[in-house]
Amino acid sequence: MTFLLQQTLIYTVPLILVALAGVFAERSGIINLALEGIMVIGAFVGAWFVRSQQEGGWNEEQAQLLLLAALLVTAAAGALFSLLLSFSAVKMKADQTIGGTALNLLAPALVLFLVNIVFQQNTLNLRYDAPSWFMLFQTDFGFERKAKLGLVGDLLLNKTYLTTYIGILIYVVLSVVLYKTRFGLRLRSCGEHPQAADSVGINVYRMRYLGTSISGALAGMGGFIYALTTSNGAANGDVAGFGFLALAVMIFGNWKPLNIAVVGFLFGLLKCISACSGTLDINGDGVYTLAQIGVSTYVYNMLPYVITLVVLAFTSKKSRAPKAEGIPYDKGQR
């Protein structure tokens, strides 16, 4: 059980972060289909940064500091890359779906081109094993190696990553910012009724640039966290549809942070089960329940999308999608 929850948490954190990235863009009025592409860029920049710093003298004691620096770098990279989207959507008033699709095509192409030519291989790996450098064990928190911490303690203090805490912290802080601050209210108003927002002196263009940049920063960070915690920090121009899964989480969560957290956990659980259903021993009693049920891993993989479709079918009338998302704002049309 502990193992299952630990693994689920590892999938959940990047999932909800990237879903929140989608919320920030859409609440400001920009459809961000490029989440997947931005994640790819974040994973690549993060891997490159960590690798070069590992080669350039940082040692294992400073690993957590390096991780913090890497998060900042990947957030900057994601925000920078997302400027391509906001420029096309805000300044050029171009179709946002096409812009997002273009970035989704550009990111893996650019990453694979660079990885192949600079490193002469298909996948960019970290210099040293990610778990051995960055994973936190209960001994790091001052507990005995054999000490029993219980389920919650095990979950939060053993075999975790610093990114898990930071991810959850950022998620909570930004959710509060979006709903409880003046900035958040202004941002949301630009996604609902930009004309009204403009009429009271809010700069819609700037808000949309900001919303998309925050979105890019979160997605870039999410991409790096995903790569670090699930695939040993390797960057190969692919995050296996995780950005689109985050989009599904956002829609199912009805653009609301609390719902998104719940849905993110559910989908993270499914993702985790599909990754290890054959070898998963839930209760630790030597019975591989899921393997005995014998449902293919692909079914678990598919379920989040099927569930989202079904939910969409039933709740389409009650959808809280931002009303003005996807429509370029034109001052002249006020």
């Binding site: 459809i31 289909l33 391509l84 096309s88 050029m92 008033k93 171009a94 179709d95 779906t97 096409i98 812009g99 699709t101 273009a102 970035l103 989704n104 095509l105 550009l106 893996p108 192409a109 650019l110 694979l112 081109f113 660079l114 192949n116 030519i117 600079v118 692919d238 296996a240 549809g241 689109f244 899964l245 989009l247 599904a248 829609i251 293919s296 692909y298 079914v299 993989n301 598919m302 999308y305 099927v306 989202t308 479709l309 969409l312 079918a313 389409s316 959808s319 999608a321 009303k323 998302e325 996807g326 429509i327």
Partner: protein
């Protein structure tokens, strides 16, 4: 004044805007090559070589090692034929996206429809024993099965859009990934996997092992050593049919009306729900037909572990359609252009230090810029300030603009 308008009408401006996107994309690719060469301290001559291959990849005939290993160029029938073969599925997915766009729908679901077509065509082609049923008939059945599977897959977003007003982009993304897992699930443990050749279990059997292969119709003689076959001609015919249906029939008119304004179409007594569902179904069928034409070639292996990635050919239907401004005939040319870039990329990784992904970068840049078509057109208008063409009543409105505003979920 009047003459100028006919010379520089909306159509030619659209073509000019597309060409401008292509030009800028290729220039970007060139700059990237130079930057990488500088960064990695490679000789600039290598960037120049790379750029020449990007520009004229299919005329590349390799290197002449006797003359100081210079690149040689000339007619290369193999690459020319391969370009036609690879353009076939691209033209079809391009048609798929274009047709949906005419109805005001953005078919980002082409990859899923393409996958469903792939699975259906391969399964039917391998499952029916050709010693009982003639191979040509099996080919036809496999093709039709693919079209049916793709149409079904396209229907789902169509139904959601028509009856529940759910944005088709969202549902298409869901159906894409459902298809990706469904196809892997279907092939997992099936008899269609290649267990015969060593190390090939990740692939399906070639359809030629069951004697099913697209007729060559002399294309192999014309383009020696290539995979060219009659599939390209089928795509050509389907493009012409699509053009006629869209532009010359009542049905096509209804689709376009629905694309321009759903409520106006409804007010005029058209069944706009039917138009949406049919348009998506046909789009799905076209994308899947592209998959069938590609995989029924006979010697193509399908890597069936698709649960983690979607086929690029499906997504590349979007640039094909955008470059052609959603004109079905234009899709033939833009599809061939995309295949041309693809072949150039392969030549690049074979003969230089660079790799084939530069072609994908260029495509992505072109897609990005093609969203600016309206802006480019505005620039062209600006230069001839005497002719306010964009207010000219005869000029067709940009296809998706009016529709997009209504696509929002309420």
């Amino acid at each position: 004044m009047k003459k100028q308008r006919t010379l520089w009408n909306d159509g030619s401006k659209t073509v000019a805007a597309s060409l401008l996107s292509i030009l800028m994309g290729v220039i970007f690719g060139g700059i990237l090559l130079v930057l990488v060469a500088l960064f990695l301290k490679m000789p600039l001559a290598s960037a120049w070589e790379g750029f020449r291959i990007v520009l004229a990849g299919i005329f590349n005939t390799g290197r002449n090692y006797d003359a100081g290993s210079v690149l040689t160029f000339g007619f290369n029938p193999r690459l020319m034929g391969d370009m036609l073969f690879r353009s076939t599925p691209l033209i079809m997915t391009g048609l798929s996206v274009a047709l949906a766009y005419k109805t005001g729908l953005f078919n980002i679901g082409a990859p899923g429809q393409y996958l469903m077509g792939t699975a259906a065509s391969i399964m039917v082609a391998l499952a029916i024993d050709t010693s009982v049923v003639p191979a040509a008939l099996v080919w036809l059945l496999a093709f039709l099965a693919a079209v049916a599977a793709g149409a079904l897959w396209g229907c789902i977003p169509g139904l959601f859009k028509a009856y529940l007003n759910v944005n088709e982009v969202i549902t298409s993304i869901m159906t894409n990934w459902i298809a990706a897992n469904l196809v892997t699930l279907a092939f997992d443990g099936s008899p269609f996997i290649n267990l015969v050749d060593y190390g090939k279990t990740g692939f399906t059997l070639k359809t030629s092992t069951n004697g099913v292969a697209t007729a060559k119709l002399g294309m192999d003689a014309l383009f020696g050593g290539s995979s060219a076959n009659a599939g390209f001609l089928v795509a050509l015919v389907l493009a012409i049919v699509s053009y006629v249906v869209i532009s010359k029939t009542t049905f096509g008119y209804e689709l376009r009306c629905c694309g321009s304004s759903k409520s106006a179409a409804k007010y005029a007594g058209m069944n706009e729900k039917r138009s949406i569902v049919l348009s998506m179904a046909i789009a799905g069928g076209l994308a899947a037909a592209g998959a069938a034409l590609y995989y029924l070639q006979g010697d193509v292996e399908f890597s069936w572990h698709t649960s983690m990635s979607l086929p690029a050919t499906g997504f590349n239907g979007i640039p094909v359609a955008l470059l052609a401004s959603c004109n079905p005939i234009g899709c033939v040319f833009s599809g061939m252009f995309m295949a041309y870039l693809n072949i150039s990329g392969n030549q690049l990784s074979t003969f230089t230090a660079y790799n084939e992904y530069i072609a994908d970068v260029i495509v992505a840049v072109i897609v990005y810029l093609s969203a600016f078509t309206l802006f480019f057109k505005g620039l062209m208008d600006g230069r001839r300030k005497a002719a306010p063409i964009h207010h000219q009543p005869g000029a067709a409105p940009p296809p998706a603009e009016p529709a997009r505003e209504e696509e929002k979920q309420s």
